[in-house]
Symmetry: C2
Subunit: 202 residues, 2 copies
DNA sequence: CGCTATACTGACTGAGTGGTCATTCAAATG
DNA sequence: CATTTGAATGACCACTCAGTCAGTATAGCG
């Protein structure tokens, strides 16, 4: 089955609409964003949106999922190319900070979604949760290994993984707010230093 | 000017409505919460809400402000009664964890609001920001003192303060999710241990 | 060139919401 | 008991917005 012209057009539209949705959702948040605005930004009519996505919710999920997958892939690749546990943790922090630095819009969606996730009646999809869980798991495994090899002191690795993740997020937030006057590399170094000392390497 | 009967009734209604609003906002988030639902929970008619609060937004602010002030006061008191820097940091973490443990609803509002705060078009009031800034400042001052007295290694205190704050938040989140199987005290000890080692006391 | 298929459009619908206000009625007053 | 008062009410209004669909424009084809 060859790729027809139709497929190409569909792909083009799908991507264009997703791009617009991504920007509007990042700017306004899910509730405040309107389909009319997304259509305006995508430069298509409102009805067209519904030819490619069945609902606002689906569009939102798609936007989240794409970026989440990208971040996860990058982080994983970056960690794999590092040798020692310390380097891996450093790579994790660096990759995360760098990704969000390049995609501040995604961070805004991500961060607000992350907070909402704990609402009892969260009817939002769990892409962000899954990203979070996956990222934490990856870190956790590294830490567990390190503990077994006695590279770091015995510690509750999962909680530590979450903590590292959250410190990283916290630094991204400070940078986006303009509260950090340090360079990206300095901030990476700071986050690593703090967590690494906290974990207690030997 | 003595307190009239009217004042008492007003106070009673105001508090009752605020309590209901608090619960509904915590459960649903700002946008999903409806005035009709708040009225139902408060067991008054919708119009009555507007006799005591001029708008949904005002009600939300009031709900946030009250709890934020309470948390800030508790934390401050707890830290003041501690002697050493380490004890103060420990007190901070403990007070925060304990408060949120008692008020999981507030944490949900707080956390979701915190994420939203960085949206560019945030038209939400800044109670949460102010709470956050105040809490961080308090911690920061303690850390700065400690650095001057050489009780801890020289460090970027503000960033460290934010990190401590965020680790604490992160643990609250894990507890609310039921992800933590440890006792409250164990979690407090863990958070303190991690941050304190991270800061690098001597 | 005429015909058909269909991608696209945007006015429209209907559900839902924040906020209002004429009306009600219980309690206070005399 | 009659009268006044104003707190409480809830039907209502104006508006928003996700989602629909009858109609239009255009590309492809014979």
């Amino acid at each position: 089955m060859p790729r027809t012209k139709k497929d190409v057009v569909t792909e083009f539209r799908t991507a264009g609409i997703l791009e617009a949705a991504y920007r509007v959702f990042a700017e306004q948040g899910f509730e405040q964003a309107t389909m009319a605005e997304i259509a305006r930004v995508a430069d298509v009519a409102k009805g067209t949106l519904y030819l490619y996505y069945p609902s606002k919710q689906h569009m939102y999920s798609a936007a989240l999922r794409q970026s989440a997958a990208e971040l996860a892939a990058r982080t994983r690749a970056s960690m794999e190319s590092a040798a020692s546990v310390g380097d891996k943790v450093h790579a994790f922090i660096g990759a995360t900070l760098r990704y969000f630095e390049e995609h501040p819009d995604f961070f805004r969606i991500y961060d607000s979604e992350f907070g909402r996730a704990r609402c009892r009646h969260a009817q939002h999809p769990r892409q962000v949760d899954e990203l979070h869980i996956e990222q934490v798991k990856t870190l956790d495994q590294i830490l567990q290994q390190a503990v077994r090899r006695r590279a770091i002191r015995p510690i509750r690795t999962e909680e530590a993984a979450v903590a590292i993740f959250d410190i990283t997020r916290s630094i991204v937030k400070q940078r986006l707010l303009g509260a950090s006057r340090a360079s990206l590399d300095e901030d990476i170094a700071f986050a690593f230093d703090l967590t690494w000392k906290g974990i207690g390497h030997r």
